[in-house]
């Protein structure tokens, strides 16, 4: 295994571990009796939440970069760690600086108070620099014959520009004309937050196609018209459907209508994903295949619920409730994390059959995630309907239920991550035998 894939895989697993840890701290704050103790001894809710989201994004990006370097090594036929040493060192320096500044600023209590980017803005600059250098390296390598390459190269390339643009857009609040007009600030913030998530999704979808191609041995799917049609609909959704989060925000009705119509187009994706699920039963029983199959079911569920909650009357009920958290968790865990875990398992273990304990952990992860989504959705619906009646919900069961499901999910994903860590640490590719957790 090439050194860059191994390095970024280790960084990804570290980020995933930090995501899980901070998720536990954050959910602990939901329990009224526990919150003050956590506040004094461990961390504030704001810090835990910010560290949780930052590391979740870092996990997705690091793991995607690991996969992309695996592809680039195959494409260029050279070890990029050695042949592009200065480029790699620049990326490593910027990534380290960005992550350390961000983490330090959050842990020390500093906050910009901006969603996703609570850390010190200088960290954002280093993250952008690292991304641009990596993007330049990637695009230089794939430039020859770019338009003849599979869909995942197009998705990754689009993500390079998309993420850079939306990261800059996220800092528009630094302009006085934007900061002083809060409605304009909200319009830009919702747009930037929605589309930056879209750029991360492109990394994940590209990885799903890449690993799916390797697992199935079918290279034609990633070059087909269907793949590009789905890419087009998915990308359109990425940068337009932020509007369904902001139907109440004073803004152009055209933006809201575009958001609604394009959101409904996701139904097309839903149908296609269901067909993909049916065909994927032919895949083997490796950890990678199991996780990829699970991610397809979560894709179908997340797309279906996204279409439903984008319908304005329903959106008005669940707006600002934990139904949004449920959707976010099913997407980030059920789709993004499962795909990236599948990718890393494939890179380091190939099609080797996984042990019964690992299979068990994957099943428990799915059940725990399902339980978490149900708990969050029910509570959100309860709050939304009560709000229509002018009532406030006092629910003592939800915080405990949320914490319990979150803890089970953390443990099961932790078990899966531990199995992956052992593989990455040994940096060997198993083509036969069993993966032991």
């Amino acid at each position: 295994m090439n050194k860059l894939t191994t390095l970024f895989s280790k960084l990804a697993i570290f980020a995933l571990t930090m995501t899980l840890l901070n998720g536990v701290f954050a959910v602990g704050h939901y329990i009224a009796a526990l919150s003050p103790k956590l506040h004094e001894s461990v961390t504030q809710f704001g810090t835990s939440r910010a560290m949780h989201t930052m590391n979740a994004a870092a996990w997705i990006m690091f793991s995607a970069v690991a996969v992309i370097y695996h592809y680039l090594t195959a494409v260029t036929g050279s070890d990029l760690f050695e042949s592009r040493r200065r480029t790699v060192q620049s990326i490593a320096l910027c990534v380290s600086a960005g992550y350390l500044i961000a983490a330090n600023s959050l842990i020390s209590g500093y906050s910009t108070g901006r969603e996703y980017l609570e850390f010190y803005p200088l960290a954002g600059l280093f993250i952008l620099l690292a991304w641009l250098i990596f993007g330049w390296q990637f695009l230089s390598a794939v430039r020859p014959g770019f338009w003849d390459r599979p869909i995942y190269v197009t998705m990754w390339a689009t993500s390079v520009f998309f993420f850079a643009y939306t990261l800059c857009e996220q800092y528009a609040w630094l302009l006085p004309s934007v900061f002083d007009d809060h409605v304009v600030d909200m319009r830009l913030q919702w747009k930037a937050c929605g589309t930056i998530v879209g750029s991360l999704n492109l990394l994940v979808y590209g990885t799903a196609y890449y690993i799916g191609e390797k697992l199935s041995g079918n290279e034609e799917l990633a070059k087909s018209k269907t793949a590009y049609a789905l890419f087009a609909v998915g990308l359109l959704n990425s940068f337009t459907n932020f509007g369904h989060h902001a139907y109440h925000l004073p803004q152009s009705e055209l933006v809201k209508w575009i958001s609604f119509v394009v959101s409904m187009l996701e139904a097309i994706l839903f149908v296609k994903v269901m067909f993909d699920i049916a065909s994927s039963v032919r895949l083997n029983d490796s950890a990678a295949a199991r996780l990829l199959r699970a991610s397809k079911w979560w894709s179908a569920f997340t797309l279906l619920t996204a279409v439903i909650i984008s319908i304005p009357p329903i959106n008005s009920v669940i707006h600002g409730t934990h139904v949004v958290v449920a959707h976010s968790m099913s997407a980030t865990t059920g789709i993004d994390s499962f795909v990236m875990l599948a990718a890393l398992f494939y890179l380091f273990a190939g099609s080797a059959q996984s042990s019964k304990w690992l299979n068990c952990a994957i099943v428990i992860t799915n059940i725990a995630l399902g339980g978490l989504v149900v708990v969050l959705s029910c509570h959100g619906l309860e709050v939304g309907l009560a709000r229509l009646n002018g009532r406030v919900v006092v629910d003592n069961v939800f915080p405990v239920s949320f914490a319990v499901h979150g803890a089970i999910l953390t443990l099961s994903i932790g078990f899966v991550t531990r199995a992956l860590w052992k593989l990455v640490r040994s940096s060997c590719v198993q083509v036969s035998g069993e993966i032991r957790a």
Binding site: H29, Y30, S35, P36, H39, Q44, F45, G46, R49, A50, S111, T112, G113, R114, E115, E118, W147, D148, T154, T158, F179, D181, H182, V183, V184, M186, L188, Q189, W190, K191, C193, E220, K223, S224, K225, T226, A227, Y228, A232, L236, F239, T240, H245, A246, H248, L249, P250, S252, V255, I258, S316, H319, G320, H322, V324, V325, L385, R387, L388, N389
Partner: protein, 135 residues
């Protein structure tokens, strides 16, 4: 075998998508829906809001955390005295904040300004069917 996408068509598709992206961006950047900027004291209050990471638990127009309620129209629903007490002494999982009276005043002025910009959540304007209330 599924039909392949030709290189020329891929280029056209990307041009179209890039065009849509910038068109969407232009729609948002040039939105003429009336707004008004905050006063200087309200802008100071926004800085207090951000510095104390209020959006970690609360939302404005749906943007933020969900541990606490949406505060877009809190100014017109919650008495001023209650806001002062909750910020200074905490309430439930909400910690107390060490902010000065001037900062608190500017924060409240920021909430008052946001309250005038629009409605952050759906509130019933007429009686809804019995099955919505569940009673």
């Amino acid at each position: 075998m599924p039909p392949r996408m030709r290189a020329e068509h891929k280029k056209l598709l990307m041009i179209a998508l890039v065009g849509c992206f910038f068109a969407q961006g232009a729609l948002v950047y040039t939105d003429r829906t009336p707004t008004r900027p905050a006063s200087s004291n309200a802008a100071t209050g926004k800085r207090v809001w951000q510095a104390n990471n209020c959006q970690a638990c609360h939302q404005i127009y749906g943007m933020g955390g969900f541990l606490g309620p949406d505060l877009t129209n809190a100014y017109s629903r919650v008495p001023r005295q209650r806001i002062d007490v909750m910020v200074k002494f905490g309430f439930g999982q909400m910690p107390k904040f060490q902010i000065s009276d001037e900062e608190l005043n500017s924060l409240v002025e920021f909430l008052a300004y946001v309250d005038t910009t629009g409605k952050g959540q759906l509130r019933p304007t007429k009686k809804l069917p019995w099955w919505v209330y569940g009673e």
